[in-house]
């Protein structure tokens, strides 16, 4: 087996998709204990070579020629790699409509994410969320972060105060930030930031869409002659 290298961001991004498919596949076909790269690749319409390489990175047991990978083992390996098995506590700052939706989103649990509390500076939203989570003030939030040694912060406040909130979280001991606001955050080197950048996504989608529609329009032109 190849010596395990650092796993690339590209590979990591694909792993959750694989995992969801494998879990589903495992449930549906109780009889098949093995799964091949080809089957996964076919489902996602990507080349099997990519899948093969990705799996080689995360699998602790070698795949078997002709058979593929042992399904339960592979599921466990990916879960371990992604840290789905040890719960990651987090706080979420900014319980507006988007923040509120994220705070109560049940799906995160399956990724091992546990949002311990919502934090907001607006007195009016403090208390309990519709989903049953605590929403506390900035001061109380800081206390919780420190006491529970929470490392992960989710920011869902509107643009203006994002940097301020970010600084505050770092001061409290937060090491990783998942940023849903469109603002670029300035952080020290030892802080990890992941931007959920909808403007970027939309830009990519809309340019690709423009190209597609343009192409179809041209084809239509040819045909109609």
């Amino acid at each position: 087996m190849e010596t395990k290298q650092a796993i690339s961001i590209e590979t990591i991004s694909r792993l959750p998709k694989y995992l969801a498919f494998l879990r589903e596949y495992h449930k549906k076909s109780n009889n098949s204990l093995y799964i091949s790269s080809a089957i996964i690749a076919e489902h996602f319409e990507i080349t099997p070579i990519v899948v093969k390489k990705d799996l080689a990175k995360v699998s602790t047991k070698e795949g078997r020629p002709r058979m593929g990978f042992l399904l339960p083992q592979l599921i466990e390996d990916i879960e371990d790699c992604l840290g789905y098995n040890n719960v990651k506590d987090a706080v979420l700052v900014g319980v507006g409509r988007l923040g509120g939706a994220l705070l109560d989103y049940d799906g995160f649990r399956q990724y091992g994410l546990n949002i311990v509390a919502g934090i907001d500076r607006d007195q009016a939203v403090l208390g309990i969320s519709p989903g049953g989570r605590r929403i506390v003030s900035l001061d109380n939030g800081a206390e919780i972060i420190k006491r529970l040694k929470i490392h992960l912060g989710i920011i869902a406040v509107p643009g203006k105060s994002t940097q301020e909130v970010c600084d505050y979280l770092i001061e409290c001991g937060i090491k990783g930030i998942w940023n849903f606001s469109p603002t670029h955050l300035k952080t020290p080197d030892n802080i990890v930031v992941k931007n959920e950048d909808m403007a970027s996504s939309l830009a990519v989608l809309s340019i690709q869409l423009k190209e597609t529609i343009h192409r179809e329009y041209m084809n239509l032109g040819e045909h109609s002659i």
Copy 2:
């Protein structure tokens, strides 16, 4: 000037960030008409070469040595490239908490995105959203998509029915899909899909965070000897 090539996805993803900064910069410093790659690069803590290359792709007027790019011109060029100036109509299916937040999110307007209506199969949510947008049934939604020739669909329904909704939208004439559900969508070749994949983002963040914390822990160990 270099002949304009297709713009890479990486470049497109960065453009909205540049644009936001340039707009801000333009407002703050009314006196400076020019801006250099170096200044943009400094703000985002990336190398100026990347910025220079990106701007070369989108600028219609050459930059001037020693000066940089004409600020209003550059802003316009990026806006044109991203299509912020011609409004893109869209529908949004699934007016749950996340969907509702997206439906009423004002920020989209500045990206040229106009969500014409929310669509939901739950009778109870039909009517008008808190933000004042129409929420209609699947049937009425189909009628709107066809009548207004809408090309862009946003999917924010829970996992199970995502594929079904996707098929329905395509049948109505939708060409591009912005998918906020964690499911992989099967679509014909001529349909553009952009997944807003939170599981991927979280996976990347959480692995990087683990590495950071591990590294800090090791350093701490060394120091404490």
